[in-house]
Amino acid sequence: MPRFESIDHLREYRRQLVAKRDPNQPQVLVCAGPGCLPMGSEEVAAAFREEFEKNGLGAKVLLKECGCHGLCAGAVRVLIRPQEITYQHVTPEDVPEIVEQTLKEGQVVERLVYEDLHTQEKAAHKGDIPFFKGQMPIVLRKLDIIDPTSLDDYLALGGYRALRKALLEMKPDDIIDAIDKSGLRGRGGGGFPTGRKWRVCQEAMDEPKFIICNGDEGDPGAFMDRAVMEGDPHAVLEGMIIGGFAIGASKGYIYVRHEYPLAVSRLQLAIDQAREVGFLGKNILRSGFDFDIKISRGAGAFVCGEETALIHSMEGHIGEPSPRPPYPAQAGLFGKPTVINNVETWANVPEIINLGADWYAGIGTEKSKGTKVFSLVGAVNQTGLVEVPMGTTLRQIVYELGGGIHQDREFKAVQTGGPSGGCIPAQFLDLPVDYDSLQSVGSIMGSGGMIVMDTTSCMVDVARYFINFLYEESCGKCTPCREGLKNLLFILDEIIHGRGTEEHLALMDELCGTMATASICGLGKSAVNPILSTMKYFRDEYLAHIRDKKCHALVCRPLLKYTIDPETCTGCLACVRECPVGAISGKKKMPQELDQELCVKCGLCYEACQFEAVKIE
């Protein structure tokens, strides 16, 4: 690709690029996002390639492996353009039929299109699928149509136009004003006003200044940032370069967790491409502004999502947080003023510059502007990534977009904010989702994980899960967090083993109070949310464990009893092969017996049985 020496050059290149592209050229866009990749997108794409070869379509049809198409429940998803037909659950075996029917004949393969679970209505076009109807994609807008490895794809859709505008038509102050006026707040979860953060950093007297993109998406149940980094990496870079110009930084870092190898390689490729054409490096677009970006890989520590811990680990130390103030915007990386924002925040920046602060501020609620991406997972029918205007209610997200609860079971709770968030019960389903209202019910927005739970989830187990997670991830620097988590875990284990008392609940309350007040960083302060919210809204479940020694959701192992029903057992021995302690015995093709003395209640036999002969009480 050429190096863009001027705006005219870039404009001309873009014009030619768009002119060269035939909008009617058939395109097959295979989703290779976080949801489809584990279900075999690579194999589906390979099958298309092979089929095109066989039919001599290789030059005629454009095949792309794209980022997340959103509706992960239908993995592997394929979008056919220009007809905009979407197929779901595509396997390599379906590919010849799609090529024959759709690409050659222009017909829709009915059996592969979306079908509404309740009405049985079919919808072949994305716009007709309820999951997409209530959404407003800004950050996710390009994910399903661009090839993330192609800078041309990004440019053809207006990419780096915001950078041009920012560098050549705006002053740093204008940019910060625009971000401020847009009302954009940090999408990592804290919700700090982005414009204000940038202003503090810009006004700091120290030099040099740094930009960091926090891609250490550690919250279990969240994959928005992974999808953006893998699916639209240039949007993140463009946001960061604009931010660098605004605050006067010449160096930026993207901190990505090493568990996301594809995000690392996609971002590295995008950085190399941006350097080659001159969007990174010296004198960008002849504006006199120098900026470069480096990737810093995380080494596997949840606490490094906390900004001060992240900065310490970038300096070569262990990821221990330090008290704020000073905030990183005043004294961050190597003690220098540093703006650190999350992936989604950066990806919003180019759109705000392009379309204006007023446009962005017109979306959302009074105090939370714009849209938010959520990873809607768990017990809903339509799992996937959704982007909705702030203020959309939980009910709309769970029932209209998510298509309701799996197998029409009863909704129990929705968990937001990862280990720092809480479980929100059914009584708050009409709550508008924004930073402040989520906080008012004991949870937080967090980075955007939204895990829906039904009656098969035990809330005591959920609380224990998060406390155990945090216990393992706590860096151990401050006592309230280190010891508090250890003791909370001990108490929860007592309750789960049927040894809990009601005094334990009061003790947990007290411990939570100390941790929330006295911990150094957000990890310890907010670790109490999963406990406090479940104790408040699901107290009866705690009491059932304590008083009746019962787990009604049939989750807490020590309170369960496994038996084998001799009527239904076929003697296939699948359970015998799974049992780790040899507790199941009997002759082949005869009903098996489970020795209660030996049973460790692991549930492997229950999962292995194809005939539902293993029963839980």
Binding site: A299, I451, V462
Partner: protein, 150 residues
């Protein structure tokens, strides 16, 4: 000690103390663990005390002080995976391989690990072997996954 191999890694960096983590990551990737002799050289070159190197090496989950197996199995224990029974997947893997979480099989073929979240939550439970993801990996899929690498 394979000095040229280590030199190859060290030359990628400026040799400053803040290069410590990327250098250790490259060593981990290349050797599958952090060999003691190599760490001594790193300490001298980056001017970082060996104690600090061990503190970093034991703090982050990515690093191992003992060699890992040919294939790295990561079972996701994220929230959604947990709700969908990933705990049982770990037990089944551990039982079938005859190895505890965090350890490597005697034949050095498999290392079994758990991970906080792999970010493929819509397809829970998720297992990752090396760089390949396996969605909806319930207990009954475990033998099929292992068979691909045996």
């Amino acid at each position: 000690m394979d000095l040229p191999r280590l030199e190859n890694i060290l030359t990628r960096y400026e040799g400053e103390p803040y290069d410590l983590i990327p250098v250790l990551q490259d060593i981990q990737d290349s050797y599958s663990y952090l060999p003691k002799d190599e760490l001594t050289v790193v300490s001298e070159r980056l001017n970082v005390p060996l104690t600090q190197i061990y503190s970093v090496a034991t703090f982050f989950k990515m690093f191992s002080l003992i060699p890992k197996g040919k294939h790295q199995i990561k079972v996701c224990l994220g929230t959604t995976c947990h709700l969908k029974g990933s705990g049982r997947v770990v037990e089944s893997m551990s039982h079938r391989l005859g190895v505890e979480v965090g350890y490597t099989t005697k034949d050095m073929q498999f290392s079994l690990e758990t991970v906080g979240c792999l970010g493929s939550c819509a397809q829970a439970p998720v297992v990752m072997v090396d760089d390949k993801y396996f969605g909806r990996s319930t207990v009954d899929k475990v033998p099929k996954i292992l068979k691909l690498y045996k």
